[in-house]
Each structure stands twice: as structure tokens, then as C-alpha cells.
Amino acid sequence: MQENYLAKWLNDELTESELSEFKKTDEYASYVRILRASDQLEAPGFDAEKALMALKNRRTLNETKVVRLHPFKKFLSVAAAVAVVMLGAYFYSNTLDENIVTGFAENKEIVLPDSSEVILNAGSQLTFNEHSWEDNRNVRLDGEAFFKVAKGERFTVATDAGTITVLGTQFNITQRQGIFQVVCFEGLVGVTYQGKETQLPAGNIFKVIDGKIIPTGAPTGSEPSWLHKESSFKSVPLKYVLAEFERQHNLEVETQNINGDQLFTGTFSNTDKELALKSICTPSQIKFKFEGTKVLFYGE
């Protein structure tokens, strides 16, 4: 008998001899009976028409889902990811401050978000936050800068020496080692120094040298002289004048046999080195000489 003969038998694929041999077996009658009984079997009822209707109903429901919801879902996940990244970037950049630094012999002009202008003198640093600018106009200054503040809310300049608040004016701040000076050219400036606020009207100078407030007369001109490439001093200790010279001309300064506390009143050029040296040395009665990239000031 061939392989799977029962299956072949059902399919009428047995040969005559195989069939007659199969019929002689004892099991044959049982098989026939099984087939007869199983042919009366019925599967549970299935209403194809109803099922198709249900399917069509579902399909119209699904169509809106599949066609619209699907890409929307994708879009949503992409949008969510983008939002997260953007939000992160936003908060991150919010915490980042704009930082402008000038090197020696370098000036920079900065326009703040409210179009206030800041001109940064050499060797200075200005920091502000562009994102919170609308809420508070705060800048941080280290060095010297001239401010032309646009009218608006309170504008605050924080320095290590003191805080300057204004509403809209032009003023110059110098905050160097040992010197803290605010010159108001226009409007009204409030200077908070060591917890005490001083109102500084236009044409006045608030000057602190080595921790002492020094009354000073009116400024000359309507702008600080350094905007015109000159550094002006009025009764300023010589050591701070030389420090300014170092910043403006990017030359290392050395001194020998010099009284740095002697006061200097005068102006030196920020462009012409030789002229500047003469402008400092002649009234101070000191001498100078170049030593490579350095310049040595020395007394007799």
C-alpha cells in the first residue's frame, strides 16, 4: 500500500488492486462510516453578507482613522520630538549669556536688543542675556564702556565696584582696578556704590579711586574722549594711567623708580604710541625706553 493511502483513497487515487486490497481490511468499514458521519458535519453558521456589511462599516470608520490618524500620529511624534529639542535648546540658550570681550588695543560697538548702544573700550567685557532682555535690561560690565541707553524701562549695569541704573541717557563707566568712575553726559544716572545710591545728573562725574569717592568737576565734551582715540585723565594716579596705556597700545609696561601714586592730569593718544608716551612722560617728568615688546618707564 502506498504512502498516505488513506488520503489517496479519499481522492480516488488508489489503483484498482490497492483499492480491492484496502476494502478487504477490517478497518475499511470503520473508515467508510467515519467519512459518512463526517460528511454530515457542518461548521457554525457564517453570514458572509452580514460580515461584509460589518466590514464596510468598520472600513469607513477605519478610513478616517487610517488615512488621517496615521500620518497625524507620525507627525505628532515628530512634532513632539522637535518640540522637546527646541524647548531644550530654548531653555539652554536662555541660560546662555551674550558675552562680548575686547582685547588690548581693541574697541567694539555693540547694539543691544532695545537698540541701546554700547561702545566697549579696550580690555573690557560686556555680558547680557538677550532672551530675558525684554523683562530686564541688565548688563554686566568689567572694564570701561560708553552707554547710549534707549528710553524705556530701568537699565542696569552691574560692575564689581557698583551698580548703575538709568532710564535712558548717555554715560560712561570706567571700572578698572582701583578706579570706578561714572560720567553722565545726558539724563540722570543712579550710581549705587557700597550700598549707597547717588543721583548723577548730566554733566557730572562720580569717581572712586582706591575706595575713596573723589569729587570731580564737569566732564569735557559730550562723549568720553576715548571714543575719539584719546584717553583723558583728571587727577588719576599714574599707575592707573600706565595700566590704561598698556590696554590701549597692547604693550607690556614695566616701571622702575616711579611713584605710581603721583596724580596725572592729561590726555594721551590711543593710536600714536610715541606721542602717547611723550604725553605721559613729559608732564610726569619720567623717562621711557623700549625693551623689545615692553616699554620701561623709569625715574631719574
Binding site: 460580515a51 466590514l55 468598520r58
Partner: protein, 170 residues
């Protein structure tokens, strides 16, 4: 059928034709496997919804095996087979001239067959019932199950053999 090739399953007419030709068999196929009418009904719905969603990618010629594959995959390893309950066509009215003893014996035999069918491995039972109830050819069953015709013959042979052994009490 030249149109069969150019026709798109996305067309309502073509889709309905495919549905009417195959839905009952898909239903029975899943029912024979798991003995759960509800699951079988869901499988039909699921398979044809998938066919509709993919109507652009499935040609009418491939649609049949597509729905069987989807229906089959739907419950792969998910549900346990329940008892397959099959009804017998009611021949009593026609068979009233039979003796009560014969009817009794007949009904006992049917119960035995029921038990034996449920005792079969799922693939043998499905093959046997698709052939006997739905009149499917071995080649068709092979296509549905994704196996060779020879494998179906083997299942059929084993199914019949163990049914007889069960019923004859060997």
C-alpha cells in the same frame, strides 16, 4: 479572466467578490483551528480589513493567500484551542424510517467522532475538516497552510487513521 490581472483589489466590486468567495472558508479555517466562533469571526474581519488597507499592494491573484496568512498570523501563539463544536446536518426528518436502535447507535458514533476530532492535533483537524466540510482540494489546503501538498496528504492520512483508532478504541 483578463480583467483579474488589471483589476485592483481597491475596487469595491473586486473586493466584494473576493470577500464572498473566501470569507466563509477563512471563518471555518480559524474555527477548525481554535474552536472559537468569535475569534474566527474577528479573524475574517481583521484579514479583510488588512486586505483593504493594502489593496494597492496586493494583486487579486494574491488576495486569497494574503487573507489566510493574515488570519493565521493573527492568532499565532495567542489563543489556546478550545473544543471544536460541529453540528450534524439534520437528517432525522428524512430518516424517520430508521429504527430507534440505529438512531441511538448513530448518535453515539457521532459523539465518538466529535471527541476524536477534538483529540486531533490542530493541523490534522483543520486539514481534515477543510477537506470534508468545505470540500477543499489538498492543493488549496496546502496553499492556505503554506505547506506542500504531500504534507497535507500526510496530515489527512494521519487524521483519518487516528480518528478510526480513537473510535474503534484501539
Amino acid at each position: 479572466m483578463k480583467t483579474e490581472d488589471t483589476d485592483n483589489v481597491c475596487e469595491e466590486q473586486v473586493f466584494s467578490t473576493i470577500f464572498n468567495a473566501n470569507s466563509k472558508t477563512v471563518f471555518n479555517y480559524i474555527y477548525y483551528k481554535f474552536g472559537n466562533e468569535e475569534k474566527a469571526y474577528d479573524a475574517v474581519q481583521e484579514a479583510f480589513v488588512k486586505l483593504w488597507e493594502n489593496c494597492g499592494k496586493v494583486s487579486p491573484a494574491k488576495a486569497k493567500s494574503f487573507v489566510y496568512t493574515v488570519a493565521n498570523n493573527l492568532y499565532l501563539n495567542v489563543i489556546k484551542a478550545e473544543k471544536v463544536r460541529l453540528k450534524y446536518a439534520d437528517h432525522r426528518l428524512k430518516a424517520t424510517n430508521e429504527s430507534p436502535e440505529f438512531l441511538m447507535e448513530e448518535s453515539e458514533f457521532k459523539q465518538k467522532l466529535d471527541r476524536a476530532l477534538n483529540g486531533l492535533p490542530e493541523n490534522q483537524r483543520t486539514t481534515f475538516l477543510l477537506n470534508r466540510i468545505d470540500g477543499k482540494k489538498y492543493a488549496e489546503i496546502a496553499e492556505m497552510e503554506g505547506v506542500s501538498i504531500k504534507a497535507i496528504e500526510k496530515r489527512m492520512h494521519l487524521a483519518l487513521k487516528s480518528l478510526r483508532e480513537q473510535i474503534d478504541g484501539i
